[in-house]
Amino acid sequence: MTTAPFAVRMLGITKRFPGVVALDDVTLEVRRGEIHAICGENGAGKSTLMKILSGVYSPDSGVLEIDGAATRFAGTRDAEHAGIAIIHQELALVEDLPVAANVFLGRERRGAFGLVDDRSMEEECGRLFAQLECGVSPGDRTGSLRVGDQQLVEIAKALSLEASVVVMDEPTSALTESESARLERTIQRLVARGTTILYISHKMDEVFRLADRITVLRDGRHVRTVDKTATTPREVTGWMVGRDIAGHEFHHGRPRGAKILEVRDLTLPWPEHPRGYRLKDISLDLHAGEILGVAGLMGAGRTELLEVLFGAADDTWTGTVCLHGDSVRFRHPREACAARVAMVTEDRKRLGLFPDLDVTGNISLCSLGEALRGGFLSRAAEEQLAAGPVRDTGVKTPGLHAAITGLSGGNQQKCIIGRWLLTRPEVLLLDDPTRGIDVGAKAELYSLIDRLCRQGLGVILTSSELPELLTLADRILVLAEGKVTAEMTRAEATEARIMEAATAG
């Protein structure tokens, strides 16, 4: 099948992390000068594969060949020297430095007496920006630029490295339409110069406009690599999600209760962003004993929606939220707590855990009032309180005194869910509760969530994994770029339909 020498070959790459196989015997062959799209759902292994290519991780097994020579990268520097540049989804720029300084960071040019030669760097930078049809001046402070322009700074950096392979990790996820169009022109120009592009995306329209060939990954495995002309967007989406989901589903026979929560025309502004809003005109209903799934890509507004409902949003939103028919407007999570709304946050380590408190302290935190004896906290009462959720949610811990940081991700998550169950919530907001949790623990969390729902809780569940929503949810709401693009019952929902609605924006 070889028609041109390969710029990059990754053969039989396997990478394990504690508890997960991120990549399992993945092979990727990229021809010189082509635009090669890599598609897959969140967690499919795209980013891990690219981190191996750019020297961030080293693979457990497998061979990496650059220009036909087997290579081993000890770090990102090695990858840069081999001509590989990566533009991460989260940009890695020093915001307080001028643009030119960022482009040459770590490779500063020197002039007379070994002093930094700002002028030469700025001239070079200006030349690169002219190529990229970018109006940014090299002396501007990087943090003052729009995201799209910041991305061009990263691309200029790749150009100044004279990279022969440029990896772009979901580059348009934060761009406006005109910025995306400019990026596409830039990509075409790079290809015309002979650069090879690896383009990671799950937006099918982009992929089919740009790419020559498409590789699909799923669950850390290589599904297939095809020429663009030999396939259709629908087929690729199918490969991305087409997994065996025959396992048992939880939503059957759950009695639906009265309506608890009603949201109408909820809009959350986003002042410093060209789109202007994080959420627009969201309406939804939630009943007792029901799980409402919220699907959407990264940045679609899933977390923001839950934060508004929990009183944790920073900006002022408009619209109405009714709890049991009464209009509510939470200004602080405490008020949401008092109204029996609970939220398990998305980023466990950053937003959920208290590393300095033990298992008991982490569980009892929101209901310490019940652990008072004579006005003072009683350790015994606290442990008694915490023992309940530990037993009910099946936390595996060496003891109630154990450090929370010593538990596995799944058990930490159960502790946090337990913390909120102690507040006896009626509405439970779960923001991507199984992220970074291994398969077995996921199954335990699923049956826990199902059990809670059968006890009459109304649950709103967001997830970056579609099978999770299909397993648990009664209804699914799909968000794309802050708007609801579809609402379907479980019977109507398929992964492909959700994916289509999620990429509609």
């Binding site: 300095d356 005194h401 450090a403 010593g406 596995s408 199954a443």
Partner: protein, 420 residues
């Protein structure tokens, strides 16, 4: 992933059960680091008793004890405030200036209420003293409120907010002192003498500050370990965002923490006035905020928040004062000359010791590369010059060379260890 097929009972991670890192590693209520401090205090006292050529610990044990007890109480009272602020994830740099302001407010209040008695060095009466004390504590509350407002509403970093008040409050205190004396007495003055017998009694009875310190320590200890607010302070310092998302009113918790910090400093300021019989805003408590932070850090507080104990801070304060006293006894100069140096060295050594374990395990070097090479003569020169100023020229040279040799050996050993 085929998550739904998995047996729900089989999903535990071996990492969770592998090494149960238990939190409670305490014996008789103190953690290992705190026992180390107790041991260090005993060693410092014994060493002073042996080395001091005047044998003051044997000849005048009572006086030595009262000296240390008074100094420890005065430091400890506002070190407890610093501890609460640090555990809550903040920092209060202003307590030294708060001490000066508190003393000045107390003295000028008394001056305003009883100008004749104050100027005539006569008793002013308990009501006037009570008013002065109340005004000083109220000032502490107001300053704490100002800090909390600057930090939570204006969103200044705590370092900046309290740096501003560190500089500003002392100047404010001086201005207050001068304008009050100008208005109420014949001459403008940058100090107010306080001769009331109640203040004198506090100076002469060391048990008063010691009792106040002990009661305050007990109060703080109960607060931090046995109340909901205390738990919220720990949670706030450990993970502020998570604390907010757990429904904790983080801004109110901060408000309490900074008020507690400023009010303990105000309380300490009253004892400073009693001790020196004068409210003197220019120099009273100058730089002492760093001693309080040092006591908390030596006692095990983490400046990143969430970690710290009251027993640790109490022991840290005792240790600092014992070492300062030891040095002044051994080298027979005023303690204040070397006080800053001692505090600095003690903090560095205490924190270094607490990291030695991680240093050995992580394969990290204490003296790495060219920086390590330059650090060796720097440290040797520092040790040598301190020794030569305190123990004479020969002692200085010997200490310097000894340090050079020792650090050289450490470097040699480290490079051998990492090479293999």
């Amino acid at each position: 992933m085929a998550a739904t097929n998995t047996n729900p009972s089989g999903g535990s991670s071996p990492a969770a059960q592998g090494s149960p890192r238990l939190r409670r590693t305490s014996w008789f209520g103190l953690r290992s680091g705190e026992w180390a401090l107790v041991a260090a205090i005993v060693v410092a006292v014994l060493l002073t008793g042996l080395v001091d050529s005047n044998h003051s610990y044997f000849k005048l044990p009572w006086q030595s004890l009262t000296d240390i007890a008074r100094n420890t109480s005065l430091l400890g009272i506002f070190a407890l405030g610093a501890t609460v602020v640090i555990i809550a994830g903040g920092i209060d740099l202003s307590s030294g200036s708060m001490i000066a302001l508190s003393g000045t407010v107390c003295a000028t209040t008394m001056l305003a209420l009883a100008p004749k008695e104050m100027m005539g060095f006569k008793p002013v009466g308990p009501a006037v003293v009570a008013a002065g004390v109340a005004a000083a504590l109220l000032t502490g509350f107001l300053v704490g409120t100002l800090h909390a407002w600057l930090i939570t509403a204006v969103r200044l970093p705590p370092f900046i907010a309290t740096l501003a008040t560190l500089v500003g409050l002392r100047s404010f205190a001086r201005a207050l002192c001068e304008s009050a004396t100008h208005a109420l007495t014949p001459t403008k003055s940058a100090l107010v003498n306080v001769y009331d017998p109640m203040f004198k009694a506090v100076r002469e009875n060391v048990w008063v500050p010691v009792t106040v310190f002990i009661l305050l320590a007990l109060f703080t200890w109960v607060l931090l370990t046995r109340t909901v607010l205390g738990r919220h302070i720990h949670a706030l310092g450990g993970n502020e965002q998570a604390a907010r998302l757990a429904g904790i009113r983080t801004e109110n918790v901060k408000w309490f923490a900074y008020c507690f910090g400023a009010m303990t400093a105000a309380l300490a300021g009253l004892f400073y006035v009693a001790n020196e019989s004068v409210a003197q805003p220019v120099n009273q408590g100058r730089g002492h905020e760093l001693n309080a932070i040092a006591a908390a850090v030596v006692g095990g507080c983490s400046l990143s928040g969430g970690v710290g104990t009251v027993p640790g801070t109490v022991l840290g304060a005792v240790f600092l004062r014992v070492v300062i006293d030891a040095v002044s006894k051994i080298i027979k100069t005023g303690a204040d000359v070397y006080e800053g140096l001692i505090v600095g060295v003690v903090v560095v050594i205490a924190v270094t010791f607490s990291q030695l374990g991680a240093l050995a395990k992580g394969g990290r070097q204490l003296l790495p590369g060219p920086l390590g090479l330059c650090a060796i003569p720097t440290l040797a020169l520092l040790a040598g010059s301190i020794a030569s100023m305190t123990a004479g020229r020969n002692g200085g040279i010997a200490t310097g060379l000894g340090a050079l040799l020792f650090l050289g050996l450490v470097r040699f050993w480290e490079s051998r260890r990492t090479a293999t």
